[in-house]
Amino acid sequence: MKRVALASPVGRVGAVLAAGLLMGVLWLLWPASRTPQPLAPGGVPIERSPTAPADAEPITPLPAAPGLEPAKRQLGEKLFRDPRLSRGNTMACASCHHLEQAGNDGRDRPTGINGGRLDFNVPTIFNAALRFRLNWRGNFRTLEELTEAVLLDAKLMNTTWDELLAKLRTDPDYRDSFRIYGGDLEPWQVLDALATFQRSLLTPNSRFDRWLQGERRALTQEEEQGYQLFKSYGCIACHQGVNVGGNLFQRFGIFTDRPVASAADLGRFTITGQERDGRVFRVPSLRNVAATAPYFHDGSEPSLAGAVRTMAQSQLGRSMTDAEIDRVVRFLRTLTGEYRGRPVTTTELSEPP
């Protein structure tokens, strides 16, 4: 009877099923066969970054550009320089952010796509990724948000996603490049590529950073004195951290009342509508400050020395002598870093507006 049972089709099927089940169980029990699930990608591993040492300088050196996916960064750069991102293909991101120079446009205020002058001075795009908020009023938290706003802003790139994606889709190069994201071309992919590129725009290796890293000869004595003045006069109260500013809000005009000529002068108030935010701006970073004239949110100050003087009066409630200003300016010049191995240079107004 047993022999019969095994010879029957039922017996065979049963044997196959049992064998399959047994193999499944063995597979489950076999520890090596299960691919370990990495925790890190996508997740946020706990990173116990040491807080800045209490006895260190209030300014810390710029880090090297973070490891970014080269394909995305390259795609982002291509997009950054592509005027097709604007309506009428007239304006690229790079039109206002000259990467070969100081990452700004060198003007007090830019001209919009429709020809009108805009309200705020173009901030340099270098080291923008390190700012805690973006733009003068700090109304953007991430590069992606800012980038999308710039693309869709009627005064700026003035495009729409439909229009922009249609243009990108017709370009075989882009079609190829965007394949790294998989799936259909979508806005977030464009923003991610652009943001990735912007995160790479750091300007390390300034003389001051080298000094901070222990290269004592990187600064002259006067420049070092300028730094000491910068600290003792209280500039450092706001302009500190890795980006020498850019990590808090502050009112423009603590000790002197600055005239309010336009809505732009009201600063963050125009965003929040709260009285305490009147004339409050994001404290600008002083990285590459010597190359990014003119100064202030409206670009009203063409010279660095003038800006320092104004700052001392309005923010510190004191006046500085020309000698002191000169030293501080000397110090500030040491904050100019390098992009792609080349020192950041002042943006020339060679291009027509």
Partner: protein, 848 residues
């Protein structure tokens, strides 16, 4: 077919249920779970770091705000991630989402406070630093300057006030500081160190106003319940996660149970399949057992098969019920009982009745399965089953061709579940039994046919032999009787010689009877059929019998009203012989004393009727029954009684041909024989002959007076001289003028010499020089109107067409009887006379 949607439903349901369990059993993935926990930790750690750094910033120990920015950024990112993680907890995400919302709100509040703190603290730190710096400068520069005592004093007061204020920014100390600052500001100008003084006042005032603000912000920052909310979220999340895990465990358990149940079901199916396989093998074995089984053992084989089936099914009683005429009149039952006990009274009949009733009420061969008879609703069915002592019953109708339904039944004395899947196989087994029975019957029929064929061949051989003997013997007898007759006529009536001759004539007559029997037996091939009224034949025979049987034998004739005019198609003379034979046999069985009853009746069997010797097909028959009150016939004798030369009489008492001839004659008439007998009570021989429609006119059986001649000349030709002489005597006695020849050529020559001399020619058929037909044709060439009658000792020796061609009017059988001869001659000499055949005339052949 009905089972398929049900099966699909079950499979679909099972699929949905298992899929649901699988989805429910999805343990929250460990990776997102870990990420969630990490994010919660990050928020809590970030909050701690933030609080620490806020304190450090307030104390001026924090060199940059980057750590604060970073802590806030980390918390924000982690919180955002928590929002996504809330979905992990599954259905009850609402509670999680609420906690998360509270955390986000707290974080937003915290951030707002933090920004304000940073901005204000930057100013405060700057002013504090500057205030200290300028105070120190002033103190150094005022030292040793008497005109500046007042300022120095005030500056000292201010320093103290500031110190007190920064140490404890109470309202009191604040007022003190402000008063001090006001005083300093109110000093009349110009003063030394005017600029510094103004700076001190400006920054001092800023400190005085900013310090409480910053401290307030700091206090609120530290009080923001981020960690608490994060912990609450963590608590809620872990609770939900635990629940999800518990649910997953439960559904895993259910899945496992389902798998085990399915496995058990699989095992069950396997066992059932195996059981079925066993059953199939059993049935195959049963079928195989019938291969090559001798016919006689078929019933035994079926009983064995039933026993095996019953053993497999656990039944105590198994049977095949074969109702109706299909298997003979009374049906048939084959059964097996485990203990061999006797069946209940009226078992097959009542059971069969029940089966047929149930089958009629639910046609289509529905199987009846009764697990417990006691559980049946009360009624006749239950009563029947209970009366038969059945506790559990299975009845499988086996549909055969036509309306016939056989039944395969199983009974058990305990409650039994009859499995439905067995029924198909049981049906197959039933078919096997039915086939076996059919086969058995076919074989029986075949054997009977073979026996018949053998009998027929034997009869034919005997007949041929007898026919030859009878011919020669007949010629001899013709001479013996003829001369005896002549001798009798020639001798005086008182002569002793005449007495002897009379004995010779008597013996000759008996011998003629024997020859007649032999020829009746062997003349089967040339049956002549005509409508015959059997009653007349019976009456005729009775007339003859009364004369020949002793008076102690009482002969009665009972004729049913319907049968009195009944007609059968047949040879009257041979049928007459049948009656005579049967009656003679009966008389002999009674040893010459008793009642011999002859009855005629119409019977109409509707079904095939089994007779003692053969079967009777359905139809309308005339039944002739001959009943005696004799010693009866035992079974062994009954079996052989119709065989030729079989006789129970002592040697010389009988020919042993009477009943065999009867049987042969009846066979030729599509009739049948039935013998019923009881030892020492008597026997009844029943003869069945197909009844003919009464519309057919029947020639009356009449025995006419022998017509005589008036001196017409008759030429008699025979190669045997004695027969010529006998014929001449006969013809002369009948009033004709015989002219005999013992040679055909000489007869022909004589005819040629005077063709008009002869009125009729009587010639033997087979003669050495010239056959009778040849002679006849020669004679008719000379005189075409000459009537020629042929005599022959061989029946059927001359074909009818040749007779007709030769112009032969009639053929007579030898030995010639004088009244046969007389009638024939009279008929042909004078066609108006006679013309009809006469019953009992054994010599008459077909008229040409």
């Amino acid at each position: 077919m009905k089972a398929i949607p049900g099966l699909l439903l079950v499979i679909g349901g099972l699929f949905v249920a298992l899929t649901y369990l699988l989805i429910q059993g999805d343990v929250p993935d460990t990776v997102p779970h870990q990420r969630t926990l990490n994010a919660l930790h990050e928020v809590i750690l970030g909050d701690a770091a933030l609080q620490r750094d806020v304190l450090r910033a307030r104390a001026g120990l924090l060199r940059s705000y980057d750590p604060l920015v970073k802590a806030m950024g980390d918390m924000r990112r982690a919180t955002k991630q928590l929002g996504a993680a809330a979905g992990i907890a599954g259905a009850s995400a609402a509670a999680i989402a609420e906690h998360h919302g509270q955390l986000v709100a707290a974080l937003d509040a915290q951030e707002e406070l933090l920004e304000a703190f940073k901005s204000n603290n930057a100013l405060l730190q700057n002013s504090t630093k500057y205030f200290g710096y300028v105070s120190h400068q002033m103190a150094a520069r005022l030292t040793g300057a008497p005109d500046r005592d007042l300022i120095r004093a005030e500056a000292t007061v201010l320093s103290n006030a500031m110190l007190r204020f920064t140490g404890d920014p109470e309202a009191d100390s604040g007022a003190h500081l402000r008063a001090s600052l006001d005083r300093l500001a109110g000093l009349p100008a110009p003063l030394p160190l005017q600029t510094e003084l103004q700076m001190v006042v400006t920054h001092g005032r800023l400190i005085a106003s900013m310090l409480p603000v910053v401290d307030g912000l700091r206090a609120r920052l530290l009080a923001t319940p981020i960690t608490e909310r994060a912990r609450a979220l963590q608590e809620a999340y872990l609770t939900q996660h635990g629940r999800a895990e518990a649910r997953a465990e439960l559904s895993h358990l259910l899945l496992y149970l389902a798998a085990v149940a399915l496995l058990a079901y699989l095992a069950h199916l396997f066992l059932r399949l195996q059981a079925r396989l066993t059953f199939e093998r059993l049935i195959a074995g049963i079928a195989a057992a019938f291969v090559g089984l001798p016919r006689e053992q078929t019933a035994q084989g079926i009983r064995q098969g039933l026993a095996r089936l019953a053993a497999h099914l656990g039944a105590d009683h198994a049977y095949v019920l074969l109702p109706g005429a299909h298997h003979g009149a009374g049906g048939r039952t084959l059964h097996w009982r485990c203990d061999g006990a006797a069946t209940s009274d009226g078992w097959p009949a009542s059971m069969l009745a029940l089966c047929e009733r149930l089958n009629r009420s639910a046609p289509g061969g529905r199987v009846i399965r009764v697990r417990r008879v006691a559980a049946l609703p009360p009624g006749p069915d239950r009563a029947t089953l209970e009366a038969l002592g059945v506790c559990s019953w299975l009845c499988v109708p086996l549909r055969r061709t036509g309306e016939q339904v056989d039944f395969l039944g199983f009974e058990a004395r305990v409650g039994r579940r009859w499995r439905e899947e067995d029924v198909v196989l049981l049906r197959a087994a039933g078919e096997i039994f039915a086939k076996a029975l059919e086969c058995e019957q076919a074989l029986a029929k075949k054997e009977a046919l073979e026996a018949d064929l053998y009998q027929a061949q034997r009869m034919e051989a005997v007949g041929t032999l007898a026919s030859g003997i009878a011919h020669d013997f007949n010629n001899i007898l013709g001479a013996v009787i003829g001369y005896a007759e002549m001798a009798l006529e020639a001798l005086p009536s008182d002569s002793r010689i005449r007495e002897y001759i009379q004995q010779i004539w008597n013996a000759g007559e008996r011998a003629r009877g024997v020859i007649a029997q032999i020829r009746g037996f062997s003349r089967r091939a040339e049956v002549e059929r005509r409508p015959v009224r059997l009653r007349a034949l019976c009456e005729e025979a009775i007339g003859l019998l009364r004369a020949s049987l002793p008076a102690t034998v009482v002969i009665e004739l009972h004729v049913e009203a319907a049968a009195s005019e009944a007609v059968v198609l047949g040879d009257p003379s041979r049928l007459h012989l049948v009656i005579i034979n049967l009656c003679t046999n009966a008389a002999q069985a009674m040893d010459g004393r008793g009642l011999l009853a002859i009855s005629l009746a119409i019977v109409e069997p509707e079904q095939e009727l089994a007779l003692s010797h053969g079967v009777l097909a359905p139809g309308r028959y005339l039944r002739l029954a001959v009943t005696d009150t004799g010693h009866g016939i035992d079974a062994a004798t009954a079996e052989r009684i119709f065989e030729p030369f079989f006789t129970t009489k002592r040697l010389g008492g009988g020919t042993g041909l009477g009943l065999s001839t009867t049987r042969a004659v009846l066979a030729d008439h599509d009739g049948a024989l039935n013998l019923r007998s009881r030892l020492s009570e008597g026997s009844t021989f029943e003869v069945y002959l197909p009844h003919l429609e009464p519309s057919i006119t029947v020639a009356e059986s009449v025995i006419t007076p022998v017509p005589g001649g008036r001196g017409e000349a008759v030429m008699l030709v025979d190669d045997e001289r004695p027969l010529v002489m006998l014929g001449e005597e006969m013809l002369a006695a009948l009033g004709y003028e015989p002219v005999g020849f013992d040679s055909a050529p000489r007869a022909l020559a004589a005819f040629r010499a005077d063709p008009g001399r002869f009125d009729l020619v009587l010639t033997d058929a087979s003669m050495p020089e010239m056959t009778g037909t040849r002679l006849a044709s020669e004679l008719r060439k000379i005189r075409p109107d000459l009537p020629v009658v042929l005599m022959t000792g061989y029946p059927g020796s001359v074909p009818a067409d040749r007779l007709r061609a030769a112009g032969i009017r009639e053929m007579l059988r030898k030995p010639l009887a004088s009244h046969t001869l007389a009638e024939s001659i009279a008929r042909h000499l004078c066609p108006g006379r006679g013309g009809t055949d006469t019953a009992g005339d054994r010599g008459v052949q077909a008229e040409v």
